[in-house]
């Protein structure tokens, strides 16, 4: 199994999830945060970031004695099976890390938006209707609405225009 690739992906995913929660708490993006009170966002985010780094450097072994390079393409060629001796360490390098990291961020962002949309589905619809169009654009829209509500609001608006 391309163990290090999976471990790095998990590390980047959990750390990204933590950073997103901290940033959402700082920017008061309620529609991205899992919590209603920002302090919980800071606490959860800090634990996730510290946990991810600790887990990766203690449980995984990013600096093996012997290593060969993994590319993102290897995943398509070999799946998660290790084409080399399982005793040989696996290493990616920064160029490949960027690809794994982008995929991890995309997953972390999707999970954050999905979970916060489910957890905060009770945000009042009236509040959304009352808000100006400018505040319902971009990430700012997530200050007081969830992603699902913002999407349904814009779809309703488009339907109304037709």
């Amino acid at each position: 199994m391309l163990k290090l690739a999976l471990e790095y992906f998990l590390f980047a995913f959990v750390a990204s999830l933590g950073v997103l929660q901290i940033a959402a708490a700082y920017a008061r993006l309620g529609g991205l945060s899992f919590f209603t009170r920002p302090i919980w966002g800071y606490i959860f985010g800090s634990i996730a970031v510290v946990g991810a780094f600790t887990g990766f450097y203690i449980v995984a072994n990013p600096n093996p004695e012997v290593a060969y390079a993994i590319t993102f393409g290897d995943l398509f060629r070999y799946g998660w099976s290790n084409p080399k001796d399982p005793g040989i360490g696996l290493i990616m390098g920064e160029g490949e890390c960027a690809v794994f990291f982008l995929v991890a961020i995309a997953c972390a962002l999707s999970i954050s938006l999905l979970v916060s949309s489910i957890v905060k589905r009770r945000i009042s619809r009236e509040t959304i209707e009352e808000r100006s169009e400018e505040t319902l654009k971009g990430l700012e829209a997530l200050r007081e609405t969830t992603l699902f509500q913002a999407i349904s609001h814009s779809l309703r608006k488009r339907k109304g225009q037709e």
Binding site: Y8, F11, A12, A15, S16, V19, L20, I22, A23, A24, Y26, A27, R28, L29, L32, V49, F56, Y57, P62, N63, P64, E65, V66, A67, G89, I91, M92, G93, E94, G95, C97, A98, F101, I105, L109, K137, G138, L139, E140, A141, L142, L147, A150, I151
Partner: protein, 200 residues
Amino acid sequence: MSAIISADETVFFWINGFVGKVPILDRLMILVGDDYLVFTIMALILLSLWVGFRSAPERGLNQKAVLCAAVGVGFTCLAIHFFTEYGPPRLRPTDAYPGMVNLLTYGRTDPSFPSEPAAIAFTFAAGVWLVKRGRLGIAMFLTAALLAFARVYVGVHYPLDVIGGAAIGIVASLAALGVLRLAEPLPTWVLKGMRRIYLA
């Protein structure tokens, strides 16, 4: 040229000669100089800049800084690929001087010049600093410099490799900033498009 190479190797052996004298420093340098730590921290900083803003002007500045760094990383990867494919292959210190280098991590097999980690770290730092200035950019530069030093300390790069990598990273970020300015209003359209789907 040979005088420069010789001076570079002298500095390398002087720095690498500290290995084993302070065990805690060795451990710290292994951690900082690995392929993941600094890269991941810097990428997480970019993520926090993208999402963490309190006003529209702050958001605009942050997201342009991230865009500049991201485009810069693309240029850096192209430049590194060009150098490693077509540039003169410089052997890693452990291959050039077997048994003489204190290697603290696994031996790499790709060319020594330029240093990819240093290039990418400096691209991130320069990308943020060119757009946002301020303490964050300076802190990222210091972190990138620490990574560059650590790569020499652990025995995987010569000083000139990391200096070359840093120069490539900074030039790539400058080029990215220039391209983003020349390509206006395309970057603004990209950000507007992302705003429509609640991603920016």
